[in-house]
């Protein structure tokens, strides 16, 4: 086991910190398979739509949520990076917007019995995710 640590000078320390950043970005920006973007967009839209079914939609919401998680964890394991968070801020912001549509659908379903606002929110959730997918793919490149 090493006992003597060479103390780096400021330039070496700066270089080491930069190499860490590069290494972390390389892992976090591992390209995702193309099919995962429409699959996630569809599932997020489906989860949002379940609020149009009232209380009957709850089991479908849980099922779609479970499928969404399973699909992403399994795809992550296949890629070798199951729990990495992408660096693309545009992607993360659009996923946030998509999730906000989901929560908005919950609130709307409590306020009104009309289905069309929920359908609009479901389409918006899917569209936000797909737009985020485009930003993510641009930041990572295509998978090899």
């Amino acid at each position: 086991m090493e006992n003597n640590t060479h103390v780096p000078d400021p330039a070496e320390a700066r270089e080491a910190l930069a190499s860490i950043d590069t290494a972390q970005r390389a892992v976090r920006d591992t390209p995702w398979p193309t099919w995962i973007y429409p699959a996630n967009a569809f599932l997020l839209g489906a989860m949002t739509l379940t609020f149009a079914l009232g209380d009957d939609g709850f089991p479908f919401l849980l099922a779609a949520g479970a499928v969404l998680m399973a699909v992403n964890v399994l795809a992550g394991y296949r890629m070798g990076t199951p729990y990495t968070l992408p660096t693309s801020r545009v992607f993360l912001a659009l996923v946030g917007a998509s999730t906000a549509c989901l929560f908005a659908a919950f609130v709307v379903s409590e306020l009104t019995a009309q289905a069309w606002p929920i359908v609009v929110l479901a389409v918006a959730a899917a569209a936000f995710y797909l737009a985020g997918g485009v930003a993510h793919r641009r930041s990572t490149g295509t998978p090899r």
Binding site: A23, R28, Y83
Partner: protein, 104 residues
């Protein structure tokens, strides 16, 4: 957390392996190999040093035993954070003269 250079993490390749594991939580060995310019035997040696120190956990999950998964232990994460803090202290200790210093 104490800012301290860690002799196990200090070598460049080990530092980068730790950085990747901190970013990815759990990673397959092949992902690390792809991003490091190392031969399989050299990579195994670097990973073994981290595993022996108790900084990295190595396991095979599920039915596919060919795939090796790595993750940082709590001890490893603590040592890594201390090492990074020490590197930052070294960088920050470099005093860059501000333009105000030149004003009479």
């Amino acid at each position: 957390m104490t800012a301290e250079l860690d002799p196990i993490i200090h070598p460049t390749h080990r530092l980068r392996i730790c950085a990747m594991l901190v970013a990815g939580s759990t990673l397959e060995l092949s992902v690390i190999k792809k991003h490091l310019d190392l031969s399989p035997s050299a990579l195994s040696k670097q990973v073994a040093a981290l595993v022996d120190a108790g900084y990295v956990k190595q396991e095979r999950l599920g039915s596919d035993t060919r795939r090796v998964w790595l993750s940082m232990t709590r001890q490893g994460r603590k040592a890594y954070q201390g090492h990074i803090a020490a590197l930052r202290e070294i960088v920050n200790a470099t005093t860059v003269p501000s333009p105000d210093n030149y004003r009479g």
